[in-house]
Amino acid sequence: MIPLNYFLVLSIILFALGAIAFFVKRDLITQFMAIEIMFNAANLAFLAFAKSAGSLDGQIIVFFVITVAAAEAAVGLAIILLIFRQKKTIKSEDIKLMKG
């Protein structure tokens, strides 16, 4: 049996990597992908906890989170497309019209 905290640690590592990816990557799409990784990490944690609690609730939650991620992907990609149409770029550095 794999200790569940292995999963948790993995989830934490993935979450941190996702967060870092969001910070280091310089194009909008990849940054968004990083967020998906974070969501996945959270899902992993949920499932691990669900296992430990011995209830299906965690799995259901994961199901919802995946739905949310899908919906977000739709809107997010639409926004990124919009940006690309307007600016012909998806570099996140180019998006700095407003500041201060």
């Binding site: 979450f15 967060a19 959270a42 809107v75 997010g76 639409a78 926004i79 919009l82 700095k96 019209l97």
Partner: protein
């Protein structure tokens, strides 16, 4: 009482949005204002429902949806906020080239998301509601598609919002792990029972705070606020500054007011929120000093107000928090409405320089704007003052004297930038002519309603206070 009636507010809003979505297809471009009227009509119906259900305590889905008085009150002010936002949007959309029927659809979806959030105490439902709200919001922020700033606002809001959502989900996961529950009362109970998962729960709670802190824009999770507020279409900014903030605090309230009851267990969290409140009040107000764009000023001001609201959470005084939110709704939407009023075809006047002499050129708009600013600054006899009065006096009752002193000093700083707008409006001579579109009856109705609200709350708040105290009496929710 477990009954399907409890679905009424959400259903009617969703129904409205679906109806608008369908009708949009059949309506000609110039007839799109009917969509607004339909939305308004439905909003009135929903509000009437809220009134009708007062004191009934309907709930459904085993309490996943419960219309306690507090929920109803939140629903009610959120509906009012949306109502006002629609009023201020109608002309704006045609003037600023964003006249999409989907605008109202998304707005109503966002509202339904918020209603879902405030009428539930299950974190999963709240999370889903939040996502409904957020996804609609992202789209709304980018609705002026030709405007680069609007695009930028959308993308910033979307990326950072999703980023924060990830933290929220992760936090919920931790809380779930620690307490095996997603319903707030059980979570709080679990946390307070002092299980061995103490740290896990605490960190989970911290991550949840981050998630909602982002929504309500507290420092240091506020970075998106000014940019998004500036870039988004102005009515939407008004909406952002009120709606998500209100629901964010509604959720924080549900979590922390029972949680803080157990003083020993919650000490750490209390300190954390104390720090957040303090730096939010300080930083929000300080940065606002430097701004020259009115929307940005109002953005930072809304950050600062989040700080004051946080004080109310710390004071564990629901009543003052709710009252503050109500007053804040009117004055902030009113202020944005006034900003919108100062616009013409394809152009909005947003820089301080544009405001020179506006007060005398357009005396009514100027005067009402001034009243909102004065209220935001917290001068009597406006709602803003009474709101601060309640929050800070509640905080003093909790012994948070030093936080209150920070708060009043911060609001002293805020006086400067609010009055700065007034300085430009009244005390400087215009260097160029500002032409605006005055033919905007719905906007003026909204301005009037907000003005009325601000003054009513400031001078004769009695009835509303009674309502709020009834709402709070139903605690725990």
């Amino acid at each position: 009482m477990n009954t399907i009636y409890a679905l009424f507010p959400v259903l009617i809003i969703v129904a409205a949005s679906l109806l608008v979505m369908i009708l949009e297809v059949f309506l000609k471009r110039e007839d799109r204002s009917y969509l607004a009227y339909i939305s308004l009509l439905f909003l009135i119906a929903a509000a009437a429902g809220c009134v009708k259900f007062w004191d009934k305590g309907y709930s459904y889905f085993d309490g996943n949806l419960s219309l306690s008085n507090l929920s109803l009150f939140f629903c009610f002010i959120l509906i009012i906020a949306t109502f006002l936002v629609i009023l201020i949007s109608m002309k704006y959309l045609t003037l600023q080239n964003a006249n999409y029927g989907e605008y109202y659809v998304l707005l109503l979806f966002a509202l339904s998301g918020m209603i879902i959030m405030v009428s539930s105490s299950d974190l999963i439902v709240i999370f889903l509601g939040l996502e409904v709200l957020s996804l609609s919001s992202y789209a709304l922020a980018g609705l002026r598609r030709e405007d680069e700033k609007s695009n930028e606002a959308a993308v910033k809001y979307f990326l950072l919002g999703s980023f924060a959502s990830a933290f929220l989900v992760f936090g919920i996961a931790f809380l779930y792990g620690a307490t095996q529950a997603t319903a707030i009362p059980s979570i709080v109970e679990g946390l307070q029972s002092g299980s061995s998962f103490g740290t896990l729960g605490l960190v989970g709670l911290g991550l949840v705070v981050i998630g909602f802190g982002f929504k309500v824009a507290v420092v240091p999770f506020h970075m998106w606020t000014p940019d998004v507020y500036q870039g988004a279409p102005t009515p939407i900014t008004a909406f952002f500054s009120v709606g998500p903030k209100a629901v964010g605090f509604a959720v924080l309230l549900r979590i922390f007011i029972p949680y803080f009851k157990d003083a020993l267990e919650s000490q750490l969290m209390f300190g954390l929120l104390w720090i957040i409140a303090a730096i939010t009040m300080i930083a929000g107000n300080l940065i606002a000093l430097r701004q020259t764009n009115v929307k940005r000023i109002l953005a930072y001001s809304s950050i600062a107000h989040a700080g004051y609201l946080m004080v109310a959470i710390l004071a564990q005084d629901t009543q003052s928090l709710v009252f503050y939110l109500t007053a804040y709704l009117f004055m902030n939407i009113g202020a944005f409405a006034a900003v919108i009023a100062l616009g013409k075809k394809d152009h909005e006047y947003l820089e301080l320089e544009d405001y020179k002499g506006i007060g005398f050129r357009y005396p009514w708009i100027g005067a009402t704007f001034a009243v909102f600013l004065i209220s935001l600054a917290g001068f009597p006899p406006t709602g803003g003052f009474l709101a601060k009065f309640y929050v800070f006096s509640a905080a003093v009752r909790q012994g948070l004297v030093s936080l209150v002193i920070i708060g009043v000093l911060a609001s002293l700083v805020s006086v400067f930038y609010y009055l700065r707008i007034i300085i430009y409006m009244y005390m400087k001579e215009p260097s160029y002519d500002v032409e605006i579109n005055i033919d905007n009856p719905s906007l003026f109705l909204a301005l009037f309603l907000c003005l009325y609200g601000v003054l009513q709350l400031g001078i004769f708040p009695g009835n509303i206070l009674v309502l709020i105290s009834q709402a709070v009496a139903a605690l725990p929710f």
